[in-house]
């Protein structure tokens, strides 16, 4: 039991996490810490007529109460919207940003209205109840039909029809022409329903102001301290030098930690005004109405095929519900992410999409694991299966016939996306080969014996990993006198195991033991450029910079080795962390040994590695078999096979872990998760885990088999593609195609997710055939 820990642990970060000595933001103690509470709107849509907070201010323990007026006095801006697009005739997007605290109106249940700071969290919450806020309630709209209906109540006066923008991409004329001469045409609308991401650590932030240095320190889970600092600077309008963001352990993110929420600038202002540290920690019920929601997309896909089954065109009409405000990434999702890979893995000569980006009285939507790419992958592969079904074609044959061929790469899609590499047919055949297709009839029969309909679904997904907003990723590396390499960068982890993967890269490149490598991304790094974690790009983004860093170390060392050996640098080669004399005595020296020999001088060995790594295109084939109990409607995933092309694999266990996590999140969306608002009142009906079914242990208990099929990409130094979000992209269409196949056996039509027991049972009951 007392053996060296490093020998027994898979990841470096495990040591603190399995012993409860991790540092999550709510764990920090600070002398004189004050606690904040947010007063939130109870209404989906209302005018704030009158606010009397005097009783709150004079309640026990209360130090401060802030409202929108204080935001104005402080000169704070609204929470930003990251991407803006134009309509097809150049019409500007109507961007309606979210205020830190509501001004004259509230637009969704949970919207922050006022802020209370007190000695204890309970005192702040107690005091908040004394607020007297008079609301004049208005009609609420929470569906597309209601929000865009003529005469519907308007959330924002400047956005008629509750429309932010109608965006188009692709070539409408070419698509129309293709459809006109198509032999087979098919269409299907699929709902990628609104979800909560629900990382297990509730959002938290605390801040303290260093008067002497004029710097406000903000401690909060992020996906990258630099990215968060940028958003905070935008909102507060304070100089970037006057704030520092610190991130410690992060309990999951899935896209939701990349951005500042109202509580971030509020703790910053409070701490400066009160001259004491201030902390806010969300309760899960609050998180349900305040973490940005995910997905909330309706995708209506159309496909045109010629008589031989070649795809001539695809067209999508998408409804993008961004919630009450344009917050952060919703436009990026609805415009860019739904269009850049809208042809999927297929050669599609003509592509067009229109996206109606609209407002509803709901929590604003931003990025959640995949951010539109699982959704479009879902729509594409549902569309292909649907077309195959409708026209008596074979879905696998259609895919095979239309895959982009390996020799066509780099491949430019009809809407100008450049794909890096892929062996789609080989990957699909790899998956099919693994998936025991010959036993299907027997498995169906056996399932029926047990009172279950067994459906099988195959999906081929392709998605784009994040291009990265920063010009490049940089990683600074320096050695200490003990030969330990410390890496510093801006891309933070929230479970992806960066500390371990990056140490692994160093070990692979220069042979330095992973145990002698530390990766730190929680502190602001002056002068470093880099992306936050997001879009499944960190491993190859920051990792490529690390590879470059290692190259630089080897180059730095070379002259020193030449001196040491008394030879010409040209006579030294190196491979995998070892220098070799190419002539003469053929001496060898490992990098680790050279560093060790430097002693205190090792501190002079430092460099900043960098790499510009763009989007890559992870892809793969997922095959699912789902058994639906006819008597209860309960669906179980009985088999799941997946082959993913994630390029070069650095850490096989962590890749598999990401796939497990992504697939189970996909199962959650497929079989039960759904954020439901009451259509009349706009109240949230699924406001806690009592009503929002999170996947629990046992869902993927049965046969699950995953393999990777690496196809190198030239778009980064590691040849790796992302994997973090691929599990969602593959699982949604595979599971949906499987359920559709099961329902088809009794003649029941396709249905939208979530495939709850109640819905499946009702569909089977109403179906025209018995199994």
């Amino acid at each position: 039991m007392n053996a060296p820990l490093s020998a027994q642990l898979l990841r470096k970060e495990d040591q603190r996490l399995i012993t409860g000595t991790g540092q999550f933001s709510a764990d920090a103690q600070a002398v004189g810490l004050l606690h904040a509470y947010v007063i939130r709107s109870p209404h989906a849509h209302a005018r704030i007529v009158h606010m009397d907070l005097s009783a709150v201010r004079s309640a026990a323990g209360v130090h401060q109460v802030l409202t929108a007026q204080d935001m104005q006095d402080a000169g704070f801006a609204d929470l930003p919207n990251v991407a803006q697009v134009k309509g097809p005739q150049g019409q500007p997007q109507t961007v309606c940003t979210m205020p830190v605290l509501a001004r004259d109106k509230v637009l969704y249940v949970g919207q922050p209205v006022a802020w209370v700071v007190a000695d204890t969290a309970l005192q702040a919450q107690d005091a908040a109840e004394l607020a007297q806020i008079d609301y004049d309630t208005l009609d609420a709209v929470v569906t597309y039909a209601d929000a865009t209906a003529p005469g519907a109540v308007q959330l924002h006066p400047q956005a008629p029809g509750n429309t932010s923008v109608k965006f188009e991409a692709g070539d409408r004329a070419a698509v129309d022409a293709a459809f006109a001469q198509a032999h087979f045409v098919s269409d299907i609308a699929v709902d990628s329903q609104r979800l909560v991401g629900s990382p297990m650590e509730p959002r938290a932030v605390w801040a303290w102001h260093d008067e002497a240095k004029g710097v406000t320190h903000v401690h909060t889970p992020t996906q990258g301290v630099g990215g968060m600092a940028g958003f905070l600077a935008h909102i507060t309008c304070w100089s970037p030098e006057s704030m520092e963001v610190h991130t410690h352990d992060v309990g999951g993110s899935f896209g939701l930690r990349a951005t500042a929420y109202s509580e971030h600038p509020l703790v910053m202002l409070s701490t400066r005004l009160l001259k004491r540290p201030v902390r806010w920690v969300g309760s899960r019920s609050e998180i349900f109405v305040s973490d940005w929601h995910g997905r909330a997309l309706l995708l209506h896909g159309h496909i045109a095929l010629d008589a031989q089954g070649h795809i001539l065109a695809m067209r999508f009409e998408n409804q993008v519900d961004v919630g009450a405000y344009n917050a952060y990434f919703s436009t990026h999702i609805g415009a860019r992410n739904l269009s850049i890979t809208m042809g999927g893995a297929y050669h599609v000569p003509a592509l067009h999409m229109s996206a109606h980006i609209y407002f509803t009285n709901t929590v604003p939507v931003s990025a959640y694991r995949g951010a539109g790419r699982p959704d479009i992958a879902y729509a594409i592969d549902r569309l292909i299966d649907h077309a195959a079904q409708q026209h008596g074609l074979d879905g696998v044959a259609i895919r095979r016939k239309n895959f982009i061929a390996p020799q066509a790469f780099p491949y430019t899609t009809a809407n100008q996306t450049v794909y890096d590499s892929g062996h789609f047919e080989a990957v699909m055949d790899h998956a099919i080969g693994m998936s025991e297709p010959q036993g299907l009839a027997q498995r169906r029969a056996a399932a029926l014996q047990r009172g279950c309909l067994l459906g099988r679904g195959l999906a081929y997904y392709l998605e784009a990993s994040g291009p990265g907003g920063a010009a490049k990723d940089q990683v600074r590396g320096s050695f200490d006198a003990q030969g330990v390499l410390t890496l510093r960068a801006l891309t933070g982890a929230s479970g992806q195991g960066h500390e371990t993967s990056f140490a692994q890269i160093v070990q692979n490149e220069i042979g330095l033991s992973a145990s002698a490598v530390r990766y730190l991304a929680g502190e602001p790094e002056k002068g470093l450029v880099g992306n936050s974690t997001g879009g499944s790009r960190t491993l190859y983004g920051a990792g490529s910079a690390i590879k470059n860093l290692c190259q630089q170390f080897m180059d730095q060392a070379k002259p020193a080795i030449a001196v040491l050996w008394g030879c010409d640098p040209a006579d030294i080669g190196h491979a995998k962390g070892e220098w070799q004399e190419l002539i003469g005595a053929k001496r060898r020296l490992r990098f680790a040994d050279w560093i060790a020999s430097l002693g205190a001088q090792a501190a002079q060995v430092q460099a900043v590695g960098e790499a510009a790594s763009g989007a890559t295109f992870p892809n793969g084939c997922h095959i699912a078999e789902v058994e639906i109990n006819i008597a209860t409607g309960v669906a179980e995933v009985s088999h799941y096979w997946a082959v993913d092309d994630v390029g070069q694999v650095i850490s096989p266990e962590q890749v598999l872990g990401q796939v497990h996590g992504g697939v189970v999140q996909g199962m959650g969306q497929a079989f039960g998760e759904h954020v439901i608002y009451d259509r009349e009142t706009g109240q949230l009906l699924t406001g806690s885990y009592m009503d929002y079914p999170m996947p629990r242990a046992g869902g993927l208990l049965r046969h699950f088999h995953h393999e990777t099929h690496a196809v190198h990409t030239d778009l980064n130094l590691l040849g790796a593609k992302g994997v973090g979000e691929s599990g969602c992209s593959g699982s949604l269409p595979a599971l949906a195609n499987a359920v559709t196949d099961a329902l088809r056996q009794v003649g029941a039509p396709p249905m939208d997710m979530p495939f709850t027991p109640a819905k499946l049972w009702a569909a089977i009951q109403a179906a025209p055939r018995r199994p």
């Binding site: 027994q8 012993t19 992504g662």
Partner: protein
């Protein structure tokens, strides 16, 4: 109100308001922040600790209810190095972000106490009070199986 308990083998006492939850007592009064609060409807299990040898959700106990009890948190589990369950979680990659991990480990230890050789279905049922958003649970179940084998003296 005063209370006394044995925390991770050490007698401790505190004087806290009655409405203090056991989770708050552990985290705020005793600084044992390994026990996490992940929800407010007693469902996520991140707050799981052992009270008198049983796994319970510390967010749904008053500190006063633990007066006179023996409490073990994640910090007290590996008192002599790592518990086999802790080791297995790491070796089987049964954790990613680590937020659910203390509660998951405490629940797993209790599960193995009650059922030393559980089937995968029994493990899933035994962990039905614990949520994880990162791992998909596949490796968590493997970890508990491995811990079970180690604790039964078998090779993992």
């Amino acid at each position: 109100m005063k209370l006394n308990l044995t925390l991770n083998g050490t007698p401790r006492s505190a004087d806290v308001p009655e409405r203090t939850l056991l989770a708050d007592l552990l985290r705020d009064t005793f600084g044992m922040t390994g026990t996490h609060v992940g929800c407010d409807t007693t469902q996520c299990g991140c707050c799981t600790v052992h009270v008198d040898g049983q796994a319970v959700k510390s967010c749904t106990m008053l500190a006063m209810q633990a007066d006179g009890c023996t409490v073990t948190t994640i910090e007290g589990l590996g008192a002599n190095g790592l518990h086999p369950v802790q080791q297995a979680f790491s070796q089987c990659h049964g954790l990613q972000c680590g937020f659910c991990t203390p509660g998951m480990v405490m629940a797993s230890v209790d599960l193995l106490r009650r059922n030393p050789t559980p089937t995968p279905d029994e493990i899933a049922e035994g962990l039905s009070g614990n949520l994880c958003r990162c791992t998909g649970y596949v490796n968590i179940i493997r970890a508990v199986q491995q811990a079970s084998q180690v604790m039964q003296g078998e090779a993992p």
